[in-house]
Amino acid sequence: MTLLVLEGVRRRFGGIVAADGIDLTLAAGERRCLIGPNGAGKSTVFKLIMGLLRPDAGSIRFDDHEITREEPFRRVQRGLSMKYQTTRIFPSLTVSQNMSIALSRGKEASDLAAWGLDRFGLASLGTRRAGELSYGQQHWLEMCMALGNRPRVVLMDEPTAGMTPEESRRTAAFVRELAGRGIAAIVIEHDMGFVRDLEAPTTVLHQGRVFREGSMAEIEADPEVQRIYLGEVDA
């Protein structure tokens, strides 16, 4: 069942076209990686999906509802969720208070978030101020907060930025398990080891367009993709 559909989504910032007619679909429980060089438009796509930016053209549908012009909080209430690239927790509140703010959909959401907290060893840190957690733990806390509305699609923007290899491995396992719980995920990542760990179909963005789609093995073998990462192709 297709949950999220982007059709011809376009967004321009002055003379720069950050998203140039992007088409993307995501099915329930599917996981997908979004890669591309800096400035390819990956984070812009996330902001367009969440409603933080309005597209100049094109449409976004979620669960058969047109959401192109909807406010961000309505999209979250429909089941979209996002984890930022930098940690965006509330440092002056405790872990439990951060979770209390994030949780909104009753028992299922509580159980899902509790699973996430257990998974990352945060369940015993409820009274700790979030700002006192390690960098990796803050990322994990934010991932658990992103589960608080019992989402059907989670967007993760570079979830392993600044993490140790062991923390990245645990994060990859967590994202794989989300699919098992019926939660689809789109992950933006530069760490190719992490992308391989996810074992997910991969979409390459370049200059605001979908450049290639396929398995990670196919993408890595593609000489055009290798060249855009090295900056030799003006596709």
């Binding site: 406010e71 509140l93 509580s110 101020r129």
Partner: protein, 380 residues
Amino acid sequence: MRGRRFCAGARRARRRADEWPGSCRQPGHRAGAGPASVFERLGLDGPLTVFGGRFYWSLFALALAAALLFPLYGSVFAALNFTNFLINVPLALGLALLWGYCGVLSFGQVAFFGIAGYAYGVMAINWGMGSATLLAAFGALGLTAVVAAAFGYFLFYGRVSGWIIPVLTLVLTLVLETFLGQTAGMEWKIGEAPLGGFNGMTNIPSLTVGTVSFDGFSLPLFYLVVILVAGILVGLRMLANSHFGHVIMAIQEDSERTELLGYDIRRYQLLVFTIAGVLAGMSGVLYATWGNFIQPSSVGLLAATFPVLWVAVGGRRSLTSVLIGTLALSALSDALAVYSGELAFVVMGALLLFGMMAAPDGIVITVLRVATKLVSGRRK
């Protein structure tokens, strides 16, 4: 409220982890993260209300008792003068909630003070003396709530943010002052109540319940204001420590993130703005009943500056500090005004500048924190 259903989930998680109580460590808050105290369980203390614990509440009870018994050991004149200072506190606490907790600086809270004061005057004069004044007081607060909600709706649902809000709220109060200042003619009469132009509205009946008159010449108003201020402080502390309080603090820290957790932040901001407006209105009604008059200068530029000073010098993230700061600065400006009205403004401005450079969190809160550390150090 959204998120409340999490309580059941949180309780389950608590049972699983045994370390999931809702307390935390915060500078100025009680040290240690043991089981929640009775004050925390009641919502009186928490990480978002600086200062708390048995020592704080003992001092609170002592201060309340000392205030209520003041007429027995102090002069009645001093009590009545103190009433004038206390009347400013609801306005200041409302601004502390709005600015310190929700991150929205309103430079025009006195507009709601003035609207409520004038509305009370108009209603009380028209509806007559006696218990009808109680109806006038509630009517004035209701009208203030409607105006604050309407103005806030355009601010927040128009996605106005940052420094535009202080400018717009200041414009609101200056426009109101200009309008009220030109209402001198007899054509500016609402029923039997003349608005009075620059001289303001006079002969406003004091609030009266049964045979008790809450005027500025006798003690009932003093007792009423002391109890109201104590109640508002306790109520706002409970609000700050509730789920609602956590959400508004989250909005202040990161409004976009909070919206992406599914909250319509505009609704929360509007609600806090309206609460702050009603609290400012409460001060306006009390002022009108205390002095039996209200004038356009009470919504002017200088009047608009004072609440910002009280809250900034007190410490906008601490309700207790704002209360102390408001009383101290009101008393100071009153004392200085004996020598020169302008001197009071110069000293207040100097205090603000000093506070911004030496104690950006607020002078009162910084002093209280140092005192708390000294006391706890001596105990150890």
